[in-house]
Amino acid sequence: MGEHVVHLIELYLDEELQGEERRQFEAHVAECAECWARLEHEQRLMALLAHARPLYDVPESVRRHIEQLGARPFWTRVRVFKWTLGLAAVILTALVIRVVVHDAVRRSAADRADHRSEFALLAADTHQRWVRGQLPLEIRSQSPEEISAWFADKVPFNLKLPSFRELPGQPKPYQLEGARLVGFKNDYAAYITYRMRNRPISLLVTSETVARPSGGEEIRSQGLVFHFEEINGWKILTWSDRGLTYALVSDFEERGQASCIVCHPSASEQRKLEDLRR
């Protein structure tokens, strides 16, 4: 018998002959005694192998060990679950940190509010009352000299308001309205009001020994340290210079630096205030 026929018999027994090939083979073996004998021969070999199964018994210790392996809680053997646990721990830690940081930031903001410059708060409050018409001015004048003179014997510091020199074709961009005294720490502070494009600006001045600027955002410019805060929607810049402390209040854009014009009207001085822009 040829190798090819033996091979076909093997394929037939191994269920690897399909379709027409299988039908042709069956038709042939049904008529061929030699092939049939060989088929039986091979069947016996396969029957022997089938009888021999299993060749080896699984040792009880191995079976027990593997069953225990399967019975173990899967998080004890699953790398991905450990990763998941690790990830969860990281996320939890991040959340805790976020809560703590958020709380700290909130407290810090609250602390900042608590530690807002008392002088800036007074400036904002006074400005608001003036804007609402609740705080009358004690002197109404557009003359800086007149107002400076009015303050001369009323405040314990020397205050001289700058004059704006009008040039042809350069009208004065703001108007001085007037001034009054404001009580602060058992003494008086000077309160001066302006308008620019019909928007109110006010300047509160006291001695540096009475109030020092603090709180808010610090901006260093031209050798001075400005503190910027927003209180009740008003932009407040406070700073100290040559023994006096100032609080400038307005509702101008950014940090309200446009209001600085009341003391620094020239273009070159305005350029120096660039640092106050956001």
Partner: protein, 211 residues
């Protein structure tokens, strides 16, 4: 989320149940490959460890049985490579050259109580015959005739073309035939009644024996 967790846990338990059902087959395959009970035990335990770990990451979607056998064989292959790289290690490929004479066979250890499978003499002879084959034949014999894998499944498990599997099975069968001829003649002989059946009936019977 809890429902998903439960479903996942249930699927995993189901997978474990399925996997444990193949323990005997895997151990027999491991023994056929290694012919050493200690190595076979390690191989099977490592297979299950990796399978459970792998399933925990992603449950196998296909044939679990074939997947497990593939894992076991891959571990064995890697272990062989590792040993080959080590000096003073027995040359494992010797069996491929001399048909297995260089190997210690289970027949040498048949007096060990944990090795001996209490079977009749015929069973022991079959085992010895299989053990005497080279590894490439042993594995296809076990996969095809003891575990019932198809040629294509075996090709996937051992990572070679189906044609190679076919020729290996054919040669393995011829070798086994030589070793078992005396037993084959005495065992499973068809009855005279069967001889008298019609040709189509005989064919049907032939198909049923293996199926």
């Amino acid at each position: 989320m809890i429902r998903r967790w439960r479903a996942r846990n249930h699927a995993e338990r189901e997978f474990e149940r399925q996997a444990l059902a193949y323990l005997e087959g895997l151990y027999n395959f491991a023994m056929a490959l290694t012919r050493d009970p200690t190595e076979a035990e390690d191989l099977v335990q490592e297979t299950y460890f990796r399978a459970f770990r792998g399933a925990a990451q992603k449950l196998p979607t296909g044939d679990v049985k074939a997947w497990l056998f593939t894992i076991l064989r891959n571990i064995w292959i890697n272990e062989r490579r590792r040993k080959r790289r080590q000096p003073d290690t027995e040359e494992l490929d010797a069996e491929e050259e001399d048909g297995g004479s260089g190997w210690r066979t289970l027949a040498d250890e048949r007096h060990r109580p944990d090795v001996v499978h209490e079977q009749n003499a015929l069973g022991q002879e079959i085992r010895r015959a299989i053990e005497s084959l080279p590894a490439v034949y042993r594995e296809v014999i076990v996969l095809r005739f003891l575990e019932g894998f198809s040629y294509s499944q075996i090709a996937a498990i051992i990572g070679c073309p189906a044609g190679t599997v076919m020729s290996r099975i054919s040669r393995a069968r011829a070798e086994l035939r030589k070793r078992l001829t005396p037993y084959r003649e005495s065992a499973a002989s068809p009855s005279s009644e069967a001889r008298e059946r019609t040709a189509s009936g005989r064919i049907r019977e032939a198909g049923e024996i293996h199926g």
